[in-house]
């Protein structure tokens, strides 16, 4: 799987893209408990206080969404275009 971060979350993570080679998580929520921020907290815990949107294969989803090898998973703050 490929994991992407955008905008302020990209800066917080100090990372744009992450090749996920650890165990395949069942769903997005499980992946979020395994991704760690530079300060040591998990992305799941970060999302408890910060608004976070999730896309799997370029489609907006929620945490319950199942994941498969080869998926592209993206995390980002609410969008601000226009």
């Amino acid at each position: 799987m490929k994991v992407l971060f955008f905008a302020s979350l990209r800066e917080t993570m100090a990372c744009s893209e992450l090749a996920w080679t650890s165990d395949q998580p069942d769903n997005v929520a499980s992946l979020m408990t395994q991704i760690l921020l530079p300060d040591g907290q998990s992305l799941a815990s970060y999302a408890e206080t910060e608004s976070l949107l999730i896309a799997v294969n370029q489609q907006m989803v929620d945490g319950d969404t199942a994941l498969n090898p080869g998926d592209e998973v993206a995390f980002f703050p609410p969008v601000t275009g226009g």
Binding site: F6, A7, S8, M60, A74, F76, V79, G81, G82
Partner: protein
């Protein structure tokens, strides 16, 4: 429906977009355009410039999904969405939504719906450069209310 989605560094020309819509739609009587520009003030801070980041693989797909919904809802004959990325100065153009319809009521409604959905669903992020430093623009709750007012916010 004729449609075109462009994500580009360059500026756009509205008269050229009107020409493209005219050339690709017959029987269109009403053309509605919305242009968004970089504000020179935001939250009482002077904006010197803006940096626009996006999620390249996803943005175009999202914009097409938004056009699908506008097409299903209104009798649209054509729609063009142009969104700029990269570095923009205060008062530069950011976004253009252009819509052709047989009747003006549908042109106005479709153009506004596309803009409201773009604000909450298209994967763009703005970072403002102010005299106090850079800052990511915060999403506005009012934009979510506007999207919800259309009744169907699937994307």
């Amino acid at each position: 429906m004729f449609r075109q989605v462009d994500i580009q560094f360059e500026d756009f020309a509205i008269d050229e977009v009107l020409g493209t819509l005219k050339a690709n739609t017959s029987a269109a009587g009403g053309f509605c355009f919305f242009a968004g520009v970089v504000r020179d003030m935001n939250d009482d801070e002077e904006i010197k410039s803006l940096y626009l980041e996006h999620y390249p693989e996803m943005t175009e797909k999202q914009l097409h999904r938004i056009l699908d919904q506008a097409e299903a809802r209104f009798g649209l004959l054509g729609a063009i969405v142009i969104h700029r990325i990269g570095s923009l100065a205060a008062r530069d153009n950011i976004v253009l939504v252009a819509v052709a319809a047989a009747h003006r009521g549908e042109a106005f409604s479709a153009c506004e719906m596309i803009m409201d959905y773009l604000k909450t669903q298209a994967t763009f992020w703005k970072k403002e450069v102010t005299p106090e430093g850079d800052r990511w623009v915060a999403a506005r709750g009012s934009d979510l209310s506007k999207e919800a007012a259309w009744g169907d916010s699937s994307a």
